[in-house]
Point group: D3
Chain length 171, copies 6
């Protein structure tokens, strides 16, 4: 094994950028953090009517989207390379019909951690919206199997809050 | 992008229940919590004898079940929608022959967290039991490929303990 | 790098069992396979009444269990060490109140594959049952935080079917 | 164990919908299927300039988004409850600057399977877009830590193709 | 929604490489493929003696490594960005003491698929070796908590085999 | 349900080792911990030249390895049975050409937790190295499809550090 570290002293010839990594949050305080994200999926009116009348054959798209969104929030750091794994203390996902041709998903995530949870709220929201799409696929496709109407839109972080850092001591 | 939030002011027409989410534990104290769960799988006597004599062709079902149970405890919040992700500090899984026709799995899980770990102990136990089943499948099936004897039973939380909340300060 | 394989010729001194592995199914035919598994969770009558009246605060336990069960079927080979990853073609999970103090979960799984899907049906069933437990935890605990009544029982493979292997040619 | 199935004959009292499950695709042919999905994230001009000049501190957002998108395509059936697990044969993700204030992600997914891959292409696209967001978070936040500009938009299935089913025989 | 695709006609200004993706294997035949990978971990003699005498406090490192290796093979396409998800038909992992200061892990993986399984065999091997390390950590650390001896070495693909493509018809 | 615990009083007949589990770290302090792991993959000179000239067809192996390594660090406790799930606060992976025939991967991981992160740093490193292998597979194989040159070597923990435990109070 002698010499096994010889290469540590060799000049690196990497062309391009430096090392890649998560932001170091080791020294940030563990405080209460919250984020709310929203987004929208536009559907055919006929599809929205089927949801309202509970006639979607695969089951209730709104409730299924809510469950999928909650579970997705917990997978955020698996999906997004630079996200820190966080001990989420609350995840709330709400899917609602909006007008006659849209479903809105709003997700609220909380944690007591060293970094914020907007990516978790966004992930819950987009997976909730994708789940709606999947649940009503058959009603949205045209004769050629294409989706002329369906579109996911307006995914935003509505609000990001963090507890006053000076108040940390109480935890 | 103007107008992108117009729908926030529209009346929601969701029929049925409110939003769905994990219980908010943000304000609960981080204390030591422990749970013990047990369960049983009934097998043919001949199968139990093969386990005892270390003749099961796929390997040692008891040890494999223990490893699978430990790994499953860490997947609890991925499997059960409303479970919080928790930093488990200890997972112990014990698979034992009981009498001449059963294997018992007992799992003990600890954490320093804001909510309890009974779901983690239960998950470790049921996945341990399913692993036993999988390891001895070939000895349990009858001529038609059915399982006339095999059954998983009596999955219970034996004990749930939490440190006195007033003692939290020492951590 | 010369000599890097010298150890291939050294006597292995492993005490105990041989190598461990999945059963080799490479030469088995890809045929239609189906399995049905059932199980039961016993709850307090008061809890069952709350489910029936849709008053469970965390949401609908039956629907949530169904969604969790479907998702768990797809995780079977991640949870159980010797299970083959299979391209499931159908997963159906049904959670129902039985009498005044139980919920039954029944899962049906299909595939076109080289091995059966009873472990997938069992996994969907037990995760469905664990999800029920988690959704009604607060109503099942006594004053000491213990679960005197709650128990998961009678997890069985109700039926296992495989297409006649001679009929494979049509696929 | 006698009597363990007594409840099979008891009337189910489930109020509401029937069982929930994936669509059964067991009898569909394994044919070549392809889908293309696109979406857009709007950013501050200053942020887009930083991406162009390779000055984003966390690394290259476009390449990172592409890798994250590929990996997310393979997680689709874990994220979306009713999606079938499919043996993807190709995943291609392309992140590009569009104009002076947007990044577009386009994902192409192929499989030889019994059902289509539009959900996989959509999942790759949205996770790619979320990854862009995460990589440039620090440049998008205003003094209050909010995101006044950042929005993900126009997520669509651009194209869905499947091989003529009659041509299946050649495979 | 009109105009939502305007950007499809805009010139892309991406500096650098093209899109990133998995190799397209859609048109390759589904044939039997097999790969064998090996690797070695060097340990203190005292540690190897403890393994031999079954005195390692955390349990049997060899068997635990074998189980972890099998499970890791199934996670290969989750870990390595460009790996295709494959329906593994067999995974075999064998951990053995070699001489008085090493453990060797050898993994054999098979599939009936459109691309080879050397990455799966390598992944099973390295995770098996990491598991050995983890199981004996406490015996390998010196007084400063460093690992002066422990090293993983010689990870190679020993053999890669594929069935004659012309023989495919029999499947 | 009476008698359901009768088996708790029956003598266990398990032959062999005791229960299996993670080390209990419940009472250890949450302190800053860091680990650095390195490893090397040897490649053909021609392959290294292709990497340097950015001509590898599948994309940039170094950057892809860095992203895969970061994501793998977060999966450590899923892969290695006895590893505790930890809230990583920083992961940094650096892939570099070394001389004319090797790539080195160095990973640095930090946490504020009850146990160290050397397994996380090792996991990031080996998955980074496997990703390099996968990205250049086609250039490393000989005419028989074997890998005569490619080998992963010298995987070591370069450094392990933990904050003075007495300093914990400031957190």
């Amino acid at each position: 094994m002698s010499g096994s570290f010889y290469y540590a002293h060799v000049e690196s010839v990497r062309c391009g950028s430096d090392s890649v990594g998560m932001v170091d949050v080791s020294d940030k305080p563990e405080i209460l953090r919250e984020a709310v994200a929203v987004g929208l999926i536009r559907l055919r009116r006929e599809t929205v009517r089927l949801i309202q009348e509970e006639k979607v054959i695969k089951g209730d798209p709104l409730h299924t989207a809510e469950v999928a969104g909650i579970m997705a929030a917990k997978k955020t750091s698996e999906l997004i390379p630079h996200c820190h794994p966080l001990p989420l203390t609350s995840v709330n996902v709400d899917a609602n019909l909006i007008g006659d041709s849209s479903v809105q998903v709003r997700s609220t995530v909380k944690t007591q951690a060293r970094t914020g949870v907007e990516m978790e709220a966004l992930t819950a929201t987009v997976v909730g919206l994708l789940t709606i799409w999947d649940m009503v696929k058959q009603y949205e496709k045209d004769a050629e199997g294409q989706y002329p109407v369906t579109v996911i839109e307006n995914i935003r972080v509505e609000k990001k809050v963090k507890e006053d850092e000076t108040s940390e001591r109480k935890h």
